[in-house]
């Protein structure tokens, strides 16, 4: 397999956040030596830098290495030329996300502010419009707020609309949730198939043994749930922090999608109720993470937060706004303010929905799928290398 040298690739990569530092790399290999993830045939990040320097586009597209890297930043700290290999891997993750995406939207969102902000506003507008058409506020919401307060003094959140109320209201929201989930899942799954095609099928140097597709499948679950590769990085606090954040996400996902009818109910449970405790845990987890990461990105002291792409900030801002509006909905509801609760609920969804629809299939959040699959695929490659080398040895013997 011969790769074409295309130097213009670096101009393209610049739009995905690359800086000029990588040009200083002279291939000493210190980054490869320090990286806790280095193994035979997986000599990153040096090889990825070389591929970028030469503009081997096809090679980069078939490369899974960026997904195996968790950006602990030790490579960049060790680099004698300050070539910042860690940031290059970060850029390549963005680039690969756009390469896997068949709609072409990911590239647009990453490389154009107009598209990125336009899409957010567009989806938010659709959410608002859907509410205005199908779930408009009740006529007397502002005039007679008392009509919407239950005996506990809290807002009856499922009965604020003029059209549907009670279980019907929850069903409509749940239906919307699942529609969104299906759209996101369809996009992700098709993109993962493209990732498989580009990294396994188009890598002519390997032939994956059929059995390993099954024997390595457990890697998917294991790596999705606990990121054992992340735990290999010397900075264990990053891994633990990420696990806490993930648990918050998972709980939130359960609360607002899977178990919505059980959670979005009129009765206000006491604060020590397990449902409320879970909700508080998840909210606290998100808030803590957001504040922590924002401080790090503002300081820009550590390697991994030295550079922030516009999409990095947008992700933090969108998640932050989602969390804050969610908290406000909660307090307005307990505080017995039905009007504020209804409008805040609409705003909350008008931020949450574009965030999910843009971040998960097309942007930063897609790593939740690409990372475990990259581990799985790289295990397949490894199985292929192992088989091929044992064949070679047998011939030589």
């Amino acid at each position: 397999m011969r790769y074409k040298v295309e130097p213009d690739l670096k101009q393209d990569l610049k739009k995905f956040g690359i800086h000029d530092e990588w040009k200083d790399c002279f291939h000493c290999g210190n980054c490869t030596a320090i990286c806790p993830l280095t193994e035979n045939n997986f000599l990153f990040p040096r090889k990825a830098i070389r591929n970028v320097q030469m503009g081997l586009k096809d090679k980069i597209t078939s490369n899974l290495d960026p997904w195996l890297c968790y950006y602990c930043g030790e490579c960049s700290e060790t680099c004698p030329r300050d070539a910042n290999p860690g940031e290059l891997m970060m850029t390549l993750r963005r680039y690969l996300t756009s390469k896997y995406d068949w709609t072409g939207l990911s590239r647009k969102f990453y490389t154009s502010h107009f598209w990125e902000f336009g899409a957010i506003i567009f989806i938010a507008a659709i959410v608002v419009a859907l509410f205005a058409i199908f779930l408009p506020p009740a006529a007397d919401l502002m005039l007679n707020p008392k009509n919407f307060i239950n005996e506990q003094g809290g807002v009856m959140i499922n009965n604020l609309s003029a059209t549907f109320g009670g279980d019907n209201f929850v069903s409509i929201i749940e239906w919307g949730d699942w529609t969104m989930a299906i759209i996101v899942a369809t996009l992700l799954i098709t993109n993962i198939l493209r990732m498989f095609y580009k990294s396994i099928i188009k890598d002519y140097t390997i032939k994956v043994p059929f059995g390993s597709y099954f024997s390595e499948a457990w890697q998917l679950v294991w790596n999705f749930a606990l990121q054992p590769k992340f735990s290999k990085c010397d900075k264990k606090s990053y891994w633990i922090g990420h696990l806490l954040l993930m648990s918050s996400y998972s709980i939130m996902f359960a609360i607002i999608v899977v178990l919505l009818p059980k959670f979005q109910i009129e009765e206000i449970k006491p604060w020590y109720n397990w449902q409320r405790i879970l909700g508080y845990y998840a909210t606290f987890g998100l808030l803590f993470f957001l504040i922590y990461v924002s401080i790090k990105r503002f300081q820009a002291k550590e390697v991994s937060t030295k550079y922030s792409h516009i999409t990095d900030w947008l992700f933090i801002i969108m998640l932050g706004l989602t969390t804050i509006t969610g908290i406000l909905v909660h307090f307005f509801r307990i505080g017995g303010l039905p009007g504020a609760t209804y409008y805040m609920y609409v705003i909350h969804l008008a931020i949450l929905v574009p965030m999910i629809l843009i971040e998960v299939p097309f942007s930063k959040w897609s790593h939740l799928a690409y990372r475990p699959f990259a581990v799985y695929f790289s295990q397949l490659k490894k199985a292929a290398y192992k088989k091929q080398s044992s064949v070679k040895i047998a011939v030589a013997a």
Binding site: M1, R2, Y3, K4, V5, P7, D8, K23, H27, K47, R50, N51, Q53, M54, G55, L56, K59
Partner: protein, 578 residues
């Protein structure tokens, strides 16, 4: 030989010799040999007290021959000859045994090293017994100098000598001065114009009252020896002119490698594959265009063409790496959007300012790619999809470990440097030797890089090996200084341990004439014998060993002396065995 009285001195050379050789034991044991009057050991024989010891012993013990066992005679033979002379003895009644470079520095077993040292000293004692007094000879120097080659080296040497008021004959094969330097546009690493450097020098040469310039001439055989050379040159109008001079500087330069020999590169097959020299003329004209007249978008530069590969030349041509970087700079400033590819084997940036030049150039968006110069040369072929470029280069890139293809509109071959086809002829005419690559061989690669084994003949610039302009000029000026020093002395000492023909025994077979590497032997027709010109003779002994009738005696290397040396060596060995 009753009156032979030898003094033997074994040097410690500090710990250099003493740590590996038992010097005291050797000195003691050798005192028992016949004719050895005394045998001493001392810490530094070359020091003033060491030399004084020899002088004192010569007076007190009536010594008439001296053996010093110490370092290489190259280093201190002259020192000790002078000591003998100061003591009133003929300085050639001396022999040196090298027990440092040949013994203590190269061995690790003290007992064996001591035995070897003893054998060598004993051989020297045997040999010195047969030494005869020789007389120093000097010849007068003709103050004119012949310089062959009007490139930057020849010009620099000519101006240096002529500026001191000495006459220079400057011969140039072509019709204009400047050589290879006149064909290049800018110089690395400071990117200044070669023409601007060269033109004032050429003008000075043309106007100089002490430089006689001959263009379009070739060199015929040069006769004579240091101080008194002469030759005939053929001028452009066919006239012959005889020149007489005391010293010669050979500055004939080199030529570029013809890349059609390398099939992979397709030079001659594809019109847009060009040599570095062809690209220079493109730069001089100020237009970088393909043969079709298009502005190129992709330019690939292949390094080490004909260099560092056993199929072509094994050596490094030294200037191509930096020249290739110079091209990258010039292309980048002319065509800011162009893709520039450097296909290199190793980047060599050793000159002053060169590493900095490399670092600076590497920041100009140039793709550096490494290939295997020894086994896997890139191959240039026509590109089927001609949307962008005409040519493609396929190779295995070493830093990435990938097989890659590079598309190019122009491929520049950094052709290596090689000796001129007529290098051999000139070497023969002047009487100098070639090293394996047909470049001229210097007298000593480190200690005497501009002189040759023929006294009065110097080699400067790229005829000695590929080098850049500053190195060439340094050599030219060094040779000029050497020549001016000999001119200033008015006379020069010549070797006295020469060969001599016994005309009674000589059968006139002329074997010696053919084997002499210094053209020192001629055949005298009327007497039908060979004759050694003692000023040209270096005493190498080749003729002596080749002479079938034993008519040639090499002074201080007679058959008798060599046999006695062998006997001396064996005597010690046999003694040990018994």
């Amino acid at each position: 030989m009753n009156d032979i009285r030898i003094g033997v001195y074994v040097c410690w050379c500090g710990t250099n010799i003493a740590k590996m050789v038992d010097v005291e034991k050797i000195a003691e044991e050798l005192s028992a040999l016949p004719h050895v009057v005394l045998s001493r050991n001392y810490k530094y024989m070359c020091s003033d007290p060491g030399q004084d010891m020899i002088i004192k012993d010569i007076h007190e013990h009536k010594l008439n021959r001296v053996v010093v066992a110490a370092c290489s005679p190259r280093i201190h033979e002259l020192t000790f000859r002078k000591a003998l002379q100061n003591a009133g003895l003929n300085p050639y009644m001396f022999e040196m045994a090298n027990i440092r470079e040949q013994v203590s520095w190269v061995h690790t077993d003290r007992d064996s090293a001591t035995k070897k040292a003893k054998s060598l000293v004993s051989a020297a004692i045997n040999k010195v017994s047969f030494h005869e007094p020789l007389e120093k000879r000097t010849v007068e120097i003709n103050p004119a100098t012949l310089i062959i080659g009007g490139g930057v080296s020849g010009i620099s040497a000519a101006l240096e000598i002529a500026d001191s008021g000495r006459h220079v004959f400057l011969l140039e094969k072509s019709d204009s001065l400047g050589g290879l330097a006149a064909k290049i546009d800018l110089n690395f690493p400071y990117l200044n114009s070669a023409t601007n450097l060269l033109n004032p020098l050429i003008k000075r040469v043309n106007d100089h009252e002490h430089i006689e310039l001959f263009t379009n001439v070739s060199v015929n055989e040069i006769f004579g020896y240091i101080g008194n050379f002469k030759t005939k040159i053929t001028l452009k109008n066919g006239q012959e002119k005889e020149l007489e001079f005391g010293n010669i500087i050979v500055a004939t330069g080199l030529k570029t490698f013809n890349p059609s020999a390398i099939k992979e590169y397709g030079y001659g097959k594809y019109s847009n594959v060009i040599t570095s020299l062809e690209f220079e003329s493109m730069l001089k004209e100020g237009k970088i265009l393909t043969k079709e007249g298009k502005v190129p978008r992709n330019i690939a530069i292949i390094h080490c063409v004909g260099s560092r590969n056993s199929n072509y030349h094994n050596y490094c041509s030294r200037v191509c790496c930096m020249t290739a970087l110079k091209y990258a700079n010039q292309i980048r400033s002319t065509l800011p959007e162009a893709h520039i590819y450097q296909l290199y084997a190793d980047m060599r940036a050793f000159g002053k300012g060169c590493e900095e030049f490399y670092a600076e150039t590497s920041r100009k968006d140039i793709v550096f790619m490494m290939f295997d110069q020894r086994q896997d040369l890139p191959s240039v072929s026509a590109l089927k999809d001609k949307n962008h470029s005409e040519l493609q280069i396929c190779f295995h890139e070493l830093l990435s470990g990938e097989d890659v293809e590079v598309h190019a509109d122009i491929v520049i071959l950094m052709v290596g440097m090689e000796a001129h086809e007529d290098a051999k002829e000139i070497a023969h005419a002047v009487g100098i030797s070639l090293c394996g690559n047909e470049f001229y061989l210097e007298k000593h690669p480190k200690l005497d890089p501009v002189a040759t084994t023929t006294d009065g003949v110097f080699i400067v610039g790229t005829c000695q090996s590929p080098k850049d302009i500053p190195d060439s000029i340094s050599q030219a000026k060094a040779a000029a200084a050497r020549i001016l020093a000999t001119i200033l002395k008015k006379t020069v000492e010549v070797e006295v341990t020469t060969a001599v023909v016994n005309e009674e025994v000589c059968c006139g077979c002329q074997t010696c004439v053919n084997v002499c590497p210094y053209s020192a032997i001629s055949y005298i027709e009327d007497r039908k014998v060979s004759f050694v010109n003692e000023i040209l003779c270096k005493g190498c002994g080749t003729c002596g060993s080749a002479c079938p009738s034993g008519a040639i005696k090499s002074r201080h290397f007679t058959d008798q002396q060599i046999m006695s040396q062998i006997a001396g060596l064996m005597q010690m060995v046999l003694k040990e065995e018994v």
